[in-house]
């Protein structure tokens, strides 16, 4: 076994710690993005005079490069609003900010895609507006939105590699650190690139299959 293979094996705990941070960042930012996206979507659809705020949020999230958002949240927010205090928080905020814009539009398409007759039928059966939304509209909308959610999650995973730029110790950060310590980037960077590609292919195809099964079970 040559030196590098041994060095990589010796650093497996570091890489695993990196994978953990990557996983955390992805899950937190996606969960926050879904929640924020839902709220923004409701504001956009039923917000009355506050609709423009939702539109601004959505357009800003969708039309600003993720890297610019990441740097902005990490370095400018502390002066603007005194928060977030650490880069881990800044990283998931930036990722969530971008995805919430896309997910809000996904929610809107899903909700608007539910046939109006469904709501009318629910109302004529005596359901209140909120109950009809929760029991009739939302389940159908969520089912229709599932593939877009999968796509957006893959986008989050791909963008999460960027958080290493603001020193969040994710998988990419660990790889770059080892590459610079050993002064030999070839093996470690290729290995990590391969890991990311395999992860992303696995996540994309796994979630897509789960999604198809879910839809098939209701269709």
């Amino acid at each position: 076994m040559d030196f590098l293979t041994r060095a990589i094996i010796a650093n497996i705990p570091n890489l695993l710690a990196g994978i953990r941070v990557t996983t955390e960042i992805c899950l937190i930012s996606f969960a926050v993005a879904a929640a924020a996206g839902f709220v923004v979507c409701l504001l956009r659809l039923y917000g009355g005079p506050l609709r423009w705020l939702a539109r601004l949020w959505i357009d800003f999230g969708r039309n600003t490069p993720i890297f610019v958002q990441l740097m902005w949240v990490s370095y400018a927010w502390i002066d603007l609003i005194g928060w977030p205090k650490d880069f881990f928080t800044a990283a998931w905020i930036a990722l969530a900010l971008q995805s919430s814009g896309y997910l809000a539009e996904t929610f809107r398409a899903g909700i608007e895609g539910v046939d109006r007759g469904q709501v009318e039928a629910a109302r004529s059966l005596g359901m209140g507006g909120v109950t009809a939304f929760r029991r009739i509209v939302l389940p159908q909308a969520l089912l229709a939105m599932a593939p877009s959610f999968v796509n957006q999650f893959v986008v989050v995973v791909k963008c999460s590699t960027l958080v290493s730029v603001v020193t969040v110790p994710d998988l990419m950060y660990q790889a770059l650190r080892l590459a610079s310590i050993w002064n030999d980037p070839v093996e470690i960077l290729s290995l990590v690139a391969l890991l990311y590609i395999v992860f992303i292919l696995a996540i994309a195809s796994g979630l897509k299959r789960a999604c198809d099964r879910l839809r098939a079970s209701f269709a």
């Binding site: 800003f60 969708r62 039309n63 890297f67 400018a76 603007l80 995973v157 791909k158 070839v186």
Partner: protein
């Protein structure tokens, strides 16, 4: 509060930032051209009648689409020159702009290939059959019948992919391409003030890309209605 939102520093450095934006434009155009050419080739390979070749094309597209752009940038800048060196025996380094063009262009080609494929497959088979029945060769049919129609359906999609590439091109500062974000980082460090420049950059990009997206959306609806 007014001091907090003071963006005058951003204005003060407009010439430096503008020079950065020019580098962004250069990287964007170079990788766009590379992405479109490779994408068209990958798409044609994918649609090739020979099964092994088609599968290889499909694998290439999947590989590109599953690669995070940042990982590709780092890999092409740090690893690819070594591999070229081993293969040719000549030690070389890539200029950061070359690495950036290769990384962004190759990743983008996967997305472009899918847009091309969708456009080509959307052309009704009957048109191809009609052209063949009139005595056109398969090459001529493709160039004169399929491609012009496909081009029309895929234009909006290609436009929005290109805007995506423009957004990704802001990443290249991580391999020391002196683009706008690179200049923003330099000036922020020099002035010890991060807020005005990063906020200015975020607002500028938002306006630029919002305008472009709106234009494309309008143009896209137009062509679709025509077709």
């Amino acid at each position: 509060m007014s001091e907090t939102f003071d963006l005058s520093l951003f204005w003060e450095y407009r010439l430096v930032l503008w020079r950065g934006l020019e580098v962004n434009a250069l990287v964007f155009v170079l990788s766009l051209v590379l992405g479109l050419v490779l994408g068209l080739v990958a798409c044609l390979v994918r649609l090739a009648p020979w099964k092994g070749l088609a599968r290889a094309g499909g694998a290439y597209v999947e590989l590109c689409r599953a690669t995070p752009e940042y990982v590709a940038l780092i890999w092409f800048h740090n690893v690819a020159p070594f591999l070229v060196g081993w293969a040719t025996g000549i030690r070389i380094n890539f200029n950061p702009i070359v690495s950036a063009t290769l990384a962004l262009g190759i990743v983008a080609s996967g997305y472009f290939a899918e847009s091309f494929r969708a456009g080509i497959q959307a052309v009704p088979r009957g048109h191809v059959e009609a052209a063949r029945a009139l005595g056109m060769g398969s090459m001529l049919t493709f160039v004169r019948i399929v491609l012009p129609q496909a081009f029309r359906t895929m234009t909006p999609e290609l436009m929005s992919q290109s805007i995506g590439l423009l957004k990704t091109s802001t990443l290249v500062s991580v391999i020391a391409v002196p683009d706008i974000m690179y200049q923003v980082q330099m000036v922020s460090q020099q002035e010890m003030k991060a807020m005005p420049l990063y906020t200015g950059a975020a607002i500028s990009f938002f306006v630029l890309i919002f305008v472009l997206t709106s234009l494309v959306e309008r143009a896209g609806l137009g062509t679709r209605r025509e077709a």
